[in-house]
């Protein structure tokens, strides 16, 4: 595995949050770095560390400024120094286990009310859209928007479709949506603007569990068609 030094900047988002930014792109390589840095920071910790959370190409590190204080610098400056050391030394992987999930889903009709429109806009048959969609594994880049909502990618360019002009007020839980070259699964009934192609009965987020989110950043998902 290559282990080139990674380029990043650490900038503040207020007094208790440092953002490690690796660029402004959606790429598997960059996201792998982000996930690895978030894990490395969580493993190493530092005085006042609260939590680290990876996004597409950045990591948010929250800390308690009262505990990260020192004689020499502001809490952010101290945390920045720590993060530059930890992130600079982090490899492309911490070796933490990544899971591969298989998600059964139904496509089109009531389960995927936008499938026809996607097909029309992309000049394909609905069956082709589904076939292309099922033909690859997707990486869980990050969780956000709603508890447990996985941002997945990257879609085949032939089926990438921009968001709906006007969002739906209610998208049913389990719906699988497309937005640009991203796809994702709605864990709860919620408003949403992604194009819906299908739906799964898998429990994406279980509030009753100690480990409530089915997916973690860095996991992979393969969709299969269920009857």
């Amino acid at each position: 595995m290559k282990n080139e030094p990674v380029q990043f900047v650490v900038e503040p988002l207020g007094e208790d949050c440092a953002i490690i930014s690796l660029g402004k792109v959606i790429s598997e390589d960059v996201n792998r770095r982000a996930v690895s840095i978030a894990e490395a920071v969580s493993d190493a910790g530092f005085e006042g560390f609260v939590e680290a959370s990876p996004a597409y190409s950045s990591v948010a590190v929250f800390f308690d400024p009262g505990k990260a204080r020192s004689e020499t610098g502001t809490p952010f400056e101290n945390v920045k120094t720590e993060l530059e050391r930890i992130a600079g030394a982090a490899g492309p992987s911490t070796g933490r286990e990544k899971r591969a999930h298989t998600v059964p889903a139904r496509f089109g009709g009531e389960d995927g009310p936008d499938l026809e429109e996607i097909a029309e806009r992309r000049g394909l048959d609905p069956e082709d859209v589904v076939e292309i969609f099922l033909s690859r594994d997707y990486r869980v880049f990050m969780l956000g928007f709603l508890p447990g909502f996985p941002y997945l990618g990257t879609l085949d360019e032939r089926i990438a479709t921009s968001r709906r002009e006007s969002p739906r007020t209610r998208v049913p839980a389990g719906s699988i949506g497309i937005a640009g070259s991203q796809t994702g699964i709605y864990p709860f009934d919620s408003p949403g603007g992604w194009q819906l192609i299908g739906r799964t009965e898998v429990t994406v987020f279980d509030p009753g569990s100690d480990d409530p989110a089915m997916f973690r950043p860095g996991d992979s998902i393969r969709f299969v068609e269920s009857s």
């Binding site: 988002l13 007094e15 949050c17 792109v25 597409y56 929250f62 956000g144 987020f205 509030p207």
Partner: protein
């Protein structure tokens, strides 16, 4: 010891200081919108700062005490009365068995807090009693308080002193047209020069569609230098985001954990409680300050709060 909701308010929930450690799963910290109010009230009562209380919007609930309890009320001023007598805010007060607390009018502010000595004991979710209305977890079954709900209070609710007040340096921070201090967000530099100036000099009115997720603002439209397509990244309560229509939103306790809109600023921790108390029609302004000033303001609040804590310790029998 317990208290009973005898009339439901419009949106009253059990809240503590929120849950940490689950942002990576997309779970926001939640918790009281006005954290400082909860910390002051709990300190006043000798509780752990993180003890759960009730966050109320107006019109607020009627609450009957099923046993004697020592309580304190703070945050927004909803003209609280106990058995028809006005209750002094930011003061530990004895509520007798059978008495009812009610709120007779909104004088100012958006959210009023009731803390009880011993703290309210409810269902915990991911390490916090805070109510997450979306997930329907934490607090009173993950929902707002309804008529007939009974909340248990931990410990001996009547032990310890009553009639003690928090000093005005801690509690007199509410302003009708607040100047909210902010630090620059990661995308502040993307604002046009005109918009950067308008952000600091303009007046922004709080829209009626504001809630615990965010405070929507109406003001001079703000624009970025180019049409930009950002990659989603972290946000946190107090983040000022610029929406595509040129309006700004201040994210609240129940906001998402990530977002794709420019983060032009973040309210400093010391002023977050002031922002949590603005309501429809209020006007706010923003003033950019260096991070050092934000830390100094935070230290000043922490010092005042520790003075209160120490003062009470010496007063206690």
């Amino acid at each position: 010891m317990s208290l009973k909701i005898t009339r439901a308010g419009i949106l009253d929930t059990v809240q503590d200081l929120g849950r940490t450690g689950y942002r990576a799963l997309g779970v926001n910290p939640g918790g009281a919108a006005d954290r400082d109010a909860v910390r002051i009230l709990n300190t006043l009562l000798g509780n752990d700062e993180n003890a759960a209380g009730v966050e109320m919007h107006f019109p607020a609930a009627n609450i009957e005490f099923e046993d004697d309890a020592v309580i304190a009320i703070g945050g927004a001023h909803f003209r609280p009365e106990l058995k028809g007598v006005a209750v002094q805010k930011w003061t530990s007060v004895l509520a007798k068995k059978g008495e009812t607390l009610n709120f007779t009018g909104r004088k100012y502010g958006a959210r009023c807090y009731l803390a009880v000595r011993g703290g309210i004991e409810t269902e915990q979710w991911l390490g916090s009693a805070s109510t997450n209305l979306f997930v329907k977890a934490g607090g009173a079954g993950g929902r707002k308080l309804e008529k007939g709900d009974v909340l248990s209070v931990g410990g001996k609710a009547t032990d310890g002193p009553v009639g003690l007040s928090a000093g005005r340096t801690l509690t007199d921070r509410f302003l009708l047209e607040p100047m909210l201090r902010v630090t620059e967000g990661p995308e502040h530099h993307l604002l046009t020069a005109v918009s950067a100036n308008a952000f600091e000099t303009g007046e922004f009115e709080v829209r009626s569609d504001s809630n615990r997720m965010g405070i929507r603002l109406e003001g001079p439209p703000l624009h970025t230098v180019d049409e930009i397509d950002l990659v989603s990244s972290a946000v946190a309560p107090g983040t000022v985001q610029l929406l595509p229509d040129g309006s700004a939103v201040i994210l609240g306790a129940d906001s998402q954990t990530t977002g794709g809109y420019p983060r032009i600023a973040r309210i400093i921790a010391a002023d977050l409680s002031i922002a949590a108390q603005v309501s429809t029609g209020d006007r706010v302004r923003f003033r950019l300050v260096p991070l050092e000033e934000a830390y100094a303001a935070m230290c000043s609040f922490e010092r005042d709060l520790s003075f209160l804590r120490l003062g009470l310790r010496f007063r206690a029998p």
